[in-house]
């Protein structure tokens, strides 16, 4: 995830500009977190929901809401707090979409309409469009092979940047158990990604 946005302007400064109404600053901020948010969305959607929703649509939807609110709900609280805030927005959006989709299914399986996606542009396929595509796609495939609990541990600690203590509280585990679960998940991921070693 290189700094395509250039200039090296601090995120906190970009946030202040967005909060002051300068929506052009959003483009730079968006580019910085796009790949990680997209990975988070794709891992969280699951195969069933992914067949009906486009990952980038969810991301665009989140972006629209965040821009609309001018990051009013965000309060800087030290390292990676912005990233964590954006992940929380993504998770809320996925929950909302999943709830809507379940309600539609109960009502008689109507196809997902454009209106549901807030009029966002259609993505032609469900393939991810990462900038560093090869690395993230391999990681995504490896994550899909993990047991759900392990995948969640990686999502919380690795992608969303929660501390071990926070992640353990989120999963209802002791910090020691959380730490072991995370390390086992990383070990499994590593072997899957190891060149020349088939995934088991």
């Amino acid at each position: 995830m290189g700094d395509d946005s250039g200039h090296g302007e601090l995120s906190i400064d970009l946030v202040r500009r967005i909060q002051d109404g300068d929506t052009s600053a959003w483009d730079r901020l968006y580019l910085r977190y796009r790949d990680r948010l997209l990975l988070s969305i794709r891992c969280r959607l699951g195969p069933h929901l992914r067949s009906r929703l486009q990952s980038e649509d969810i991301l665009h939807s989140v972006v629209r809401e965040v821009i609309g609110s001018a990051l009013k709900g965000f309060e800087p609280r030290g390292g990676r707090s912005l990233e964590r805030y954006l992940h929380a927005c993504v998770l809320n959006k996925i929950c909302a979409k999943a709830g809507y989709h379940a309600a539609q299914k109960r009502a008689g399986e109507v196809p997902l309409s454009e209106a549901i996606l807030d009029g966002l542009p259609n993505a032609p396929d469900s393939a991810p469009r990462y900038r560093d595509a090869e690395r993230y796609e391999r990681l995504e495939r490896a994550l899909a092979n993990l047991a759900s609990e392990m995948r969640e541990a990686v999502m919380l600690r690795g992608i969303e940047g929660l501390s071990n203590l926070e992640a353990s509280q989120a999963l209802g585990k002791t910090p020691e158990a959380m730490s072991k679960l995370y390390n086992r998940a990383i070990a499994k991921l590593s072997l899957t990604l190891l060149p020349g070693r088939p995934a088991e």
Binding site: P76, R157, K180, N183, A187, L194
Partner: protein, 738 residues
């Protein structure tokens, strides 16, 4: 190596990195035979962590300035906070922004500054100077000198005892200066000591200093700090005083002299548990001068009240040692203290022997009870040390001796019966590994392993371990059942067949290993590990040509040092100039790749021995012993050579003995044979007959026989215990007759 094994190794490595972030894959992988495979897996794990953690978001969220200090770069990051290189008025400083969670909720700028003021008064050339402090966005920070140099943790130093004593004396005086201002460091460790280019060592990082603003070492039940360097009371979360820093100085001193951390690595909870009990493994080094050893033992006393009263007292005692004066540190009682050396073990062995002999000479019934108590105390002490060491080894998959495995498995009974044990998985793993090392003697403990699996999560890993333990315990039905389950779950049978074959190989049952390994080869013909196991099997069956062919195949496939070593060893056994030359080329190639490959050095010595090149063999064996004093076979082989084993075998040898009379020496034979007995310590049941055979060539065998007697009595095998019991009965009978 199976994926499951490799996965477990990587997970253990990551666990240990949480305790000791300085641990490197290159070092960690050295403990495994298939080092290259492990190394690439560990490096891949770090790459995954790097991708996941991506430091760019942090960089983007990093402040540009902190209260007028321009942030240049991040120079350190840990659980206690982030350290930035900053600049102000053209001068560079280190600024440590503490973790918010460590801070008392009602902290104010004025209060924090008042409390840091005490630290800023410290003026000592070996203590980093505090220039300013403040609170930024609710988080306190310290501005310190930016000390140019390298932390000790990156230098991997081994110092001469006097030099180490000088360095720790200086650090102790620095710590004393800090204590005099009412501040405790509480996180003394190699990474917090910077070696400057002018030779001075400087104490940095007061992130865990004790003040009212940062009152507690515990946060949400977690102990903060570095368990590897914690005093027992600190690890327990109890109130600490300056003696906790004195304890850490003792650990640093021990590490500098021995070249390795005194407290072994492991996952955070394992190391913390050891720290709470004050458990330390024996500090293996012959380099301890007696005075310095007493000083270290004094500083590492488990009870704070038994340590030097102040850091200054420790410094003074070190100065006395450096001046050649008697030190003030009290002599520790044998068996009371945890710092033990080979010499201490030797003394313990002598004690056991003396006890037994005295009991024979003084057959009085009441003395028997006293001797029994003393024996039990010595043996219990020995078991404790062995169990601790074996647990640590098994937890990371390093095999242990049969005697250690038996002692450990006996000790694990407590955990097995503990219904609320949180460490079921770990216990199961350790017990499984112990059973594999112990063999059939502990077959009855398989039920415990099954029970642990049922109490915990019955994972594939558990089945794998149970299957291997069952194979080692001769329970073939259970082994096949469990390993077949593993095969079904993993859709993979080659690993299982290879595992069964390897277990049988280890036990010398090559006939039964053959069909399993043949099956593994059919399933996966291009697997280096399978080829290696097949080579071992063929060699065991006496088919050296087939063994060499398989070893060639394996080394070509993996290019791992272990495979090449196996091939060289087999070529050496085959004999003939062509094979020996090829073996020598392989070994020289390995040493070109890694000059510290001690096993390659040892194999070169053996090769010279096989070729009857006596002076070269002696020089190479002695080189191995100098580099690796505890090499399991070098001393034995050297003793064999000095005993004149080659005399009369060929004219070449006889000429060598006449030209180099120093190649035969009874004195050196006895010395290295006794050394070999001490190194083996009764672990290998095939060792005593070989040692006795060599001893028969000596004019006086008493020294060797005594050494054998001591070590066998300490070995704690069933036979040895029976011998001791028999001895006691004889003593009792004599007493009754009187």
């Amino acid at each position: 190596m199976s994926a499951l094994d490799l996965e477990a190794i990587v997970a253990e490595f990551l666990d240990q990195r949480e305790t000791d972030p300085s641990i490197r894959p290159e070092e960690y992988s050295e403990r495994y035979a298939n080092r290259a495979e492990v190394l690439s897996a560990l490096e891949q794990a770090l790459e995954v962590l790097r991708i996941l953690s991506e430091d760019e978001p942090d960089r983007w969220e990093q402040p540009a300035t902190i209260d007028g200090y321009r942030v240049l770069e991040v120079i350190g990051r840990g659980g206690m906070g982030v350290v930035y290189a900053v600049q102000r008025d053209g001068r560079r400083y280190a600024l440590k922004l503490l973790t918010r969670a460590l801070v008392a909720p009602d902290l104010t700028v004025d209060r924090f500054r008042r409390e840091v003021f005490a630290l800023s008064r410290v003026r000592h050339p070996s203590v980093v100077r505090i220039h300013a402090s403040g609170v930024f966005n609710g988080v306190p920070y310290l501005v310190m000198d930016l000390v140019e140099g390298q932390p000790l943790s990156q230098l991997a130093l081994t110092l001469e005892p006097t030099e180490a004593a000088e360095k720790i004396r200086d650090l102790a005086l620095a710590v004393d200066a800090v204590h005099r201002e009412g501040v405790l460091h509480r996180d003394l460790k190699p990474s917090n000591v910077i070696a400057r280019s002018d030779g001075r060592w400087v104490l940095i990082d007061f992130g865990l200093m004790a003040t009212d603003a940062l009152p507690s070492l515990t946060m949400d039940g977690e102990v903060l700090g570095t368990p590897r360097y914690m005093a027992p009371e600190q690890a327990r979360g109890a109130a600490v005083d300056g003696s906790a820093d004195v304890y850490a100085l003792g650990l640093l001193l021990a590490e500098l002299v021995t070249g390795r951390p005194a407290r072994a690595s492991g996952s955070r909870d394992v190391v913390l548990a050891a720290a709470r009990r004050g458990v330390l493994p024996p500090l293996r080094s012959r380099r301890w001068p007696p005075g310095l050893r007493r000083i270290v033992e004094h500083a590492l006393a488990t009870e704070p009240a038994r340590r030097p009263e102040t850091a200054e007292a420790l410094a003074s005692d070190l100065q006395r040692f450096l001046d050649g004066e008697p030190v003030h540190a009290p002599r520790q009682l044998p068996g009371r203290h945890l710092v033990r050396s080979r010499r201490a073990w030797f003394v313990a062995g002598i004690l056991v022997l003396l006890t037994a002999v005295l009991s024979l000479v003084l057959p009085i019934r009441r003395d028997v009870r006293a001797e029994e108590a003393r024996l039990d105390a010595v043996l219990a002490d020995w078991i404790e040390g062995s169990v601790q060491a074996a647990t640590r080894k098994l937890a990371v998959g390093v095999p242990v001796s049969r005697a250690d495995a038996v002692a450990l498995a006996r000790r694990l009974e407590v955990s097995v019966d503990d219904a609320v044990a949180e460490s079921i998985e770990r216990d199961a793993r350790i017990l499984g590994e112990a059973l594999q090392c112990a063999g059939p003697e502990l077959a009855d403990r398989l039920d415990d392993l099954v029970a642990l699996g049922e109490r915990g999560h019955r994972s594939t890993l558990h089945s794998w371990m149970l299957g291997r333990a069952a194979a080692a315990s001769d329970d073939w039905a259970l082994a096949e059942r469990e390993l077949t389950q593993v095969a079904a779950r993993l859709n993979e049978t080659a690993d299982v067949a290879r595992e069964l074959g390897s277990v049988l190989n280890q036990r010398g049952d090559f006939e039964r290993a053959r069909p399993w390994l043949e099956a593994a080869r059919r399933l996966r013909p291009r697997d280096a590990a399978i080829q290696s196991a097949w080579a071992t099997c063929c060699a065991g069956l006496g088919d050296l040509d087939a063994a060499i062919a398989a070893a060639r195949e394996g080394s070509g496939l993996s290019n791992a040092p272990a495979s090449w070593l196996q091939l060289a060893e087999l070529l050496g056994r085959q004999g003939g100039e062509t094979a020996w030359n090829e073996a020598d080329e392989i070994l020289l190639g390995l040493l070109e790749r890694d000059e510290d490959d001690l096993e390659a050095r040892f194999q070169r010595a053996v090769l010279a021995d096989r070729r009857h090149e006596l002076p070269a063999a002696i020089e190479r064996y002695r080189d191995v012993i100098a580099r690796w004093p505890d090499h399991p076979r070098a001393a034995l082989y050297l003793a064999n050579l000095y005993s004149g084993a080659h005399r009369g075998k060929c004219t070449h040898c006889d000429r060598a003995f006449s030209e180099h009379p120093e190649c035969a020496s009874s004195e050196l034979t006895e010395r290295f044979l006794v050394e070999a007995i001490r190194i083996d310590a009764g672990r290998d049941p095939s060792f005593p007959p070989v040692a006795l055979e060599i001893a028969l060539r000596l004019p006086d065998r008493r020294g060797v026989l005594e050494a054998l007697g001591e070590q066998r009595s300490l070995a704690m095998g069933r036979a040895e215990r029976a011998r001791l019991d028999g001895l006691r009965r004889r003593i009792e009978e004599r007493g009754e007759r009187r």
